[in-house]
Amino acid sequence: MPEAAAPKPGAAREATLNATLGGRGAGGAPLGVLRERARIAYDAQELPRWRRSGFWQTSFEDLDLDSLEPRSHAPDPTLPAILTGQRSAGVLVQRDASVVHVELDPELAARGVILCSLEAAANEHGELFERYYMRRLLLDRHKLEAASAAFWSGGAFLYVPPGLQIAEPFQIVYEISAAGSAQYAHTLAIGDRGCELRLREYDLASGEIAGDALHAGQFELYLEDGARCRLAQLTDWGEGAVSDASTAVVEVGRDAYCHWLPALLGGRLIRHHDELVVAGPGGDMAFRGLFFSQGQEHLDVFAVDLHETGPSGGDVHWRGAATGSSQASFEGLIQINPGAQQTHTYLQFHSMMLSDTAKLDAIPSVLVSADDVSASHGGTVGALDESLIFYMQTRGLTRPQAVRVIVDGFFEPLIIQLDDPPLEQQIRERIGAKLTAAAEDIERYALAR
């Protein structure tokens, strides 16, 4: 990926078919109406295929939707393993189609924090729900988006009132428990004026899923004036046959700030559209992301840094590694709308190839419609450097240990910025486990060179 020259307004993007949500939202109507619209869109559409060129497509056409169904569960206060030993401001766990557990620090509840299922929020906090629900999400761009909007159940709703500063994280877990499960997930989170929060979402399989399963998720976070949030999403569907088509949007208001890091660490077929929108003057964000694809996995990420007003800041930095015969595509887009003057943003993507049969594409683009801005992109394409491996071997490390150091070091600049030791540790451990699983591939690649 070469260093970009000064971007021209309306720089060509003919290589791609992806478009931003661009501030459009389907909300503003009663939930029943929206569900019905989504159901009509669902019936009218075929399963999606994203085709960028003759060399790349992401297809959900082979998914047998009829074999999948939402599965209900009774309440279960047992915390998922990933949360054990962690301190939390609140926890919400959805297993397949049901929210099975919610807990919230009573002190926070007394101060006006709301954490409940989205179903409950629609009934009990109707005003907040209707003000925000699908304000920046759409329901008819493709069949799985429509399915999520039409059929979601359970769901997560978080509201943090103005000025409240909360150090411990809120944790939302979406768990798929068995093959045949169709999980339609929806998270709506709101950080009101001047509040400060941490939010983590985990999308995980409980054990290996032997057979097809689907997660079609929608996520929306609204940060009102001066609110600050550190958001991390860890997706790891394991080595089973889980498909995931999800959209997430974060709106950063006036003088608000968001640090957002999606970590995509496993799933047979993943299509994510992650869009971060700076919607108010003085808004600022750091959009980080990492992925590691292995085996036969197929990963397609569309990450958007959208500036609707200025002055605003942005800093997009993603890193991805691929091994086995996996395929990964990262498309990063900076879009600066007319009038978003004095916006300064930068997009960088770094990749590391760990096998000669893997495929890893990076497509950065910049669309600028204002003249007093700076926006550019850069990145690197890397493979394992044998001189580093030899150096570490002379210090007594085995080849797999040396590879581990290199890959850890590759992701570390992002992980360390999480400023969240338990989460950092979880991500490091999962990367380590993936490397162990891919050890043979990596060795073969080294010998082939």
Binding site: D385, E386, S387, L388, F390, Y391, M392, Q393, T394, R395, G396, L397, T398, R399, Q401, V405, I406, D408, G409, F410, F411, E412, P413
Partner: protein, 252 residues
């Protein structure tokens, strides 16, 4: 029996050409050797081959460590036996701090991970020896280091890993006089205190103002052509490699 590195009739080639053409050399634990030679004489090839670099093919001869033939061993196995190479051009390892890397390397050679306290004490000791700031060990290894810092980091690793025998490949190149003195004195101290066996490979004699080799060898065109003591260094300083080359040619 003290550890020893023995090189017998070593012939080495790369893809392009034969570089070493029959090298014999013995370095024992506790001895300090200097191997001198002009550019292209094969010094770095010898250093890399001793450590098992995969790009160098041994076509004849062998390398023994404590009597065991290690010619076919992987680099990490040689390291575990007690061999160390300080690189001429140490590579950067982004994302890994000096301290964390040292801990990994130390633990790679042990059954039980080193205790935090023990590691901390060793690290403090090494940091003082090499005259670096404490913050140095939090920086990513060799990432953005100056030439002097890289060489200090090499000797710091050597102090921490406590090898039996260390090969220093042009550790003096590219150093200013202060860095050179610190690094050289560090090596001398490890030799004196830990009885480290050292093979200093150098083009110039200036590092030898600060360390005192007991054995000096001169390499020309892939062979060691002269062995002696410190007097060889002085002679080389006065006469240069050309005179020695002429003398060797006349001898042949």
């Amino acid at each position: 029996m003290p550890s020893q590195l023995e090189i017998r009739n070593l012939h080495v080639r790369t893809e392009e050409r034969e570089i070493l053409r029959g090298v014999d050399l013995v370095v024992r634990h506790g001895e300090l050797h200097a191997l001198m030679g002009p550019n292209g004489s094969g010094k770095s090839t010898l250093a890399n081959t001793v450590m098992g670099h995969p790009d160098y093919e041994v076509t004849d001869g062998e390398i023994l460590f404590d009597g065991e033939n290690i010619t076919e061993l992987a680099a990490h196995e040689r390291a575990k036996l007690g061999l160390f190479l300080a690189f001429q051009y140490p590579v950067a390892i982004p994302g890994v701090s000096v301290a964390n890397f040292l801990r990994l390397a130390i633990n790679a050679q042990r059954e039980e991970p080193i205790k935090v306290k023990e590691f901390g004490a060793q690290l403090r000791h090494a940091v003082e020896l090499l005259d670096v700031e404490d913050a140095f060990t939090s920086r990513h290894l060799n990432d953005g280091f100056s030439g002097g810092e890289k060489k200090r980091a090499e000797v710091l690793q050597m102090a921490m890993l406590r090898p039996q025998i260390a090969v220093l490949d042009e550790t003096d190149s590219g150093l200013d006089i202060d860095a050179l003195r610190t690094v050289a004195e560090g090596v001398q101290k490890l030799h004196d205190d830990q009885h480290l066996g050292v093979l200093i490979i150098t083009h110039y004699q200036r590092i030898l103002d600060y360390v005192r080799p007991e054995f000096v060898h001169i390499m020309l065109d892939g062979r060691i052509v002269m062995n002696g003591g410190n007097e060889l260094v002085e002679r080389l300083e006065k006469e240069g490699y050309d005179r020695i080359r002429e003398e060797v040619a006349a001898r042949a």
